[in-house]
């Protein structure tokens, strides 16, 4: 492991990569801060730029953007009560009341320190957990992978949408269908192209991400700009108050941070769970642990109530890298985007990644530490200035997002068809968003589609076309049983609600 750490440090500590982490954290913070734009949008906008670099540098840049965007999301939660990302909703419960009391600077500082501590601690957990899990996952075979992918897709559908499991499953199927367009990887037979040459190579991953996130988010913002429920009351962006944290507040944070980081990391490792569930669970757990006097302060500007979700959501970000790096199966929508980018680089994440490309594996882990330090150095002194970005008028912001999305696709293909296709997918995605059809399951399915078909192909060929491979191995059977339980439970829940009604 020491050797790996040294490899990671050598790669991550080059001048270019440090610069990339800094740029990533900075731009991620800015994009994540803008309400409605989350880490997935931030990373999607960065993908065309990363293709100019080697895989390690590209991934380091994206990891920086990821942490930056999560931190930026907290800023808009605290100052505007308008979370930039779902993972920072719980931050607004106590962050926004604190800002209303004239302690916005303090709230932002508590968020920054908690994010830093949560991210750093979880990077240590990742350092120990990832290599051992990689060794275990080397024993996985095609049927296990196939089953694991079904479980991952079902889990993200179950967790990413509150009470909308069937909608999420429909999005999973749609993602897999989009992934099946183009040439079959083995026989080169074209599928679903309708004799259109532009579709022979399939639909570009960047195009789908840009359309379903960046572009459709921009269109949703315009569409809902007069919606009274989305209008946020604003805290003064010029009078943020002191950013100093006193001794009593520090003592509270010392107790909250370690436990919230553990829960955040563990939830982050689970496929589909991610930062949102982690932050809510940490908030709930903290509320149950603290004494009655402190419990009363929850929802009114509690230090524990702000520190817990902030620590947990950053810890979950690192945790979500575990399944991606060790199994090649992303645990969240954001890591699915990163997986897609890695495949674009020609790098196959999975248990062999840390043997075949140790510099990528270890440099990502090392860049997490560096990213956390840079985020803190960059954001603490710049908080008053960064906060003013929230005042950028949407009239400028929206066209610029559309411009970056279209340019991103144009420079990759120099093709009108891709632009039309992107606009078409974005319009459909915007409409579906209005009716709460979640997009992360679609992206995860789109990324996993090819791998899933490949593993099913291998499993069926090895078992001579028999479906017995699904229960031949105990591991495969257990994974599939878990999947079936999730599906049955959610369908049962939907039916039960009707009976009650």
């Amino acid at each position: 492991m020491i050797e790996g750490i040294l490899i990671g440090l050598t790669t991550a500590l080059t001048l270019q990569n440090i610069l990339m982490v800094m740029l990533g954290c900075f731009f991620g913070t800015i994009i994540g801060m803008l309400p409605g734009l989350g880490p997935m949008t931030a990373i999607a906008l960065m993908i065309p730029i990363t293709y100019g670099f080697d895989p390690a540098t590209g991934l380091i840049l994206m990891a920086g953007v990821y942490y930056g965007a999560v931190f930026g999301g907290s800023t808009s939660s605290i100052l505007l009560n308008a979370p930039g990302v779902p993972g920072t909703v719980a931050t607004s419960f106590d962050g926004y009341p604190m800002a209303q009391q004239g302690k916005a600077g303090k709230a932002l500082a508590i968020a920054a320190w908690s994010s830093f501590a949560g991210g750093t601690l979880s990077a240590i957990y990742l350092l120990f957990m990832a290599p051992s899990l990689s060794k275990v996952s080397l024993s996985f075979r095609s049927p296990d992978y196939f089953a694991l992918m079904i479980l991952g897709l079902t889990a993200i559908a179950a967790f990413s949408s509150k009470g909308q499991f069937l909608k999420a499953m429909m999005m999973v199927v749609l993602g897999l269908m989009l992934a099946s367009v183009g040439q079959d990887s083995l026989s080169d037979i074209t599928r679903f192209t309708f004799n259109n040459m532009n579709l022979t190579d399939g639909i570009s991953f960047v195009l789908v991400v840009m359309a379903t996130f960046a572009m459709s988010e921009a269109l949703t913002i315009i569409l809902k700009r007069n919606d009274p429920t989305s209008a946020a009351k604003q805290v003064s962006l010029t009078e943020l108050g002191s950013i100093k944290i006193n001794k009593e507040e520090r003592t509270k944070m010392y107790k909250t941070i370690p436990r919230s980081s553990v829960i955040g990391f563990l939830i982050g490792v689970l496929p589909g769970a991610g930062a949102t569930i982690a932050s809510f669970l940490a908030y709930g757990m903290e509320r149950n642990i603290v004494n009655d006097e402190e419990k009363e302060k929850f929802g009114k500007g509690s230090v524990n109530g702000l520190s817990a979700p902030e620590t947990a959501n950053n810890a979950a970000c690192s945790g979500s890298f575990v399944p991606m790096l060790t199994l090649g199966i992303p645990g969240s929508g954001t890591t699915a985007v990163m997986l897609g980018a890695l495949l674009g680089f020609g790098v196959q994440p999975g248990p062999r990644l840390y043997m075949t490309n140790p510099e990528i594996f270890w440099s990502i882990i090392m860049s997490m530490y560096i990213g956390m330090v840079i985020l803190l150095i960059l954001n603490l002194p710049l908080i008053p200035y960064i906060a003013r970005i929230l005042a950028v008028p949407k009239n400028y912001l929206i066209p610029l997002i559309l411009f970056f999305s279209i340019t991103g696709i144009y420079v990759m293909s120099f093709n009108n068809f891709d632009i039309y296709l992107m606009i078409g997918i974005a319009v459909v995605a915007t409409f579906m968003r209005l009716y709460d059809f979640p997009m992360p399951p679609l992206i995860l399915a789109f990324v996993l589609g090819g791998l899933m078909e490949e593993n099913l192909r291998r499993s069926l060929l090895l078992s001579n076309g028999s479906w017995e491979f699904l229960w031949d191995r105990t591991l495969t059977a257990c994974i599939l049983l878990t999947t079936i339980l999730i599906v049955v439970w959610h369908i049962y829940k939907t039916m039960f609600k009707k009976t009650k009604g």
Binding site: I49, G52, K162, G163, L166, K167, M169, M170, V173, L174, L176, M177, S180, D184, S187, I189, R191, F192, L219, I222, L223, K224, R225, N226, D227, P228, Y396, I398, P399, L400, L402, F403, I406, T407, Y410, V411, F414, N416, I419, Y420, I423, V427, T430, L434, Y435, D436, F437, E453, L456, R457, L460, L461, N464, G465, I491, T494, M495, K497, K498, G501
Partner: protein, 156 residues
């Protein structure tokens, strides 16, 4: 009569899955692959059935979390205008060139979204695109086709 839009979308998805399944059965595979345990149409066929299953369930099962969208508060007009501008941008970018179409796209988008600060609108379109284009074309060495700039002799 109130129509549940989620159910309508699910019905559309059901029809789409049926069409996908029909198309999957039409995929031409090699003769020797026809009876193989797995060929190019196997995965799409299963996918089509799964699509029918989940959308069918969504149609027949109750919808406890009905989403009600307040259409009156939505800005349809500006959204449609912006989409049309984006389509025109996509249609002209190759023929006219990156610089002019992108600058006009940004300028007109600001205008239709209600912006009237002309100087700022100009600065955030023409000079901004020029600087961005320099970054892509000049610094990152990404080729950008631009017949307009070539015709006036700015680009080689």
């Amino acid at each position: 009569m109130n129509i549940n839009t989620t159910k309508v979308i699910s019905l559309l998805f059901f029809i789409f899955s049926a069409f996908y399944l029909y198309t999957a059965y039409q995929i031409q595979v090699f003769a020797f692959d026809e009876n193989a345990p797995f060929n190019a149409r196997t995965f799409p066929i299963y996918l089509g059935y799964v699509g029918l299953f989940f959308s069918g369930l969504k149609i027949i099962l109750p919808d406890p979390n009905t989403i009600k969208v307040q259409h009156k508060t939505l800005e349809y007009k500006k959204t449609v205008i912006l989409i049309v501008i984006a389509i025109i941008y996509g249609a002209t970018i190759l023929k006219v060139g990156y610089f002019l179409t992108t600058s006009l796209f940004l300028f007109s988008s600001y205008y239709f979204l209600g912006e009237r600060r002309w100087v700022l609108m100009f600065l955030l379109s023409f000079p901004f695109v020029a600087a961005f284009m320099y970054l892509l074309h000049g610094v990152l060495d990404i080729y950008l086709r631009d017949p307009f700039l070539q015709s006036i002799g700015v680009m080689g």
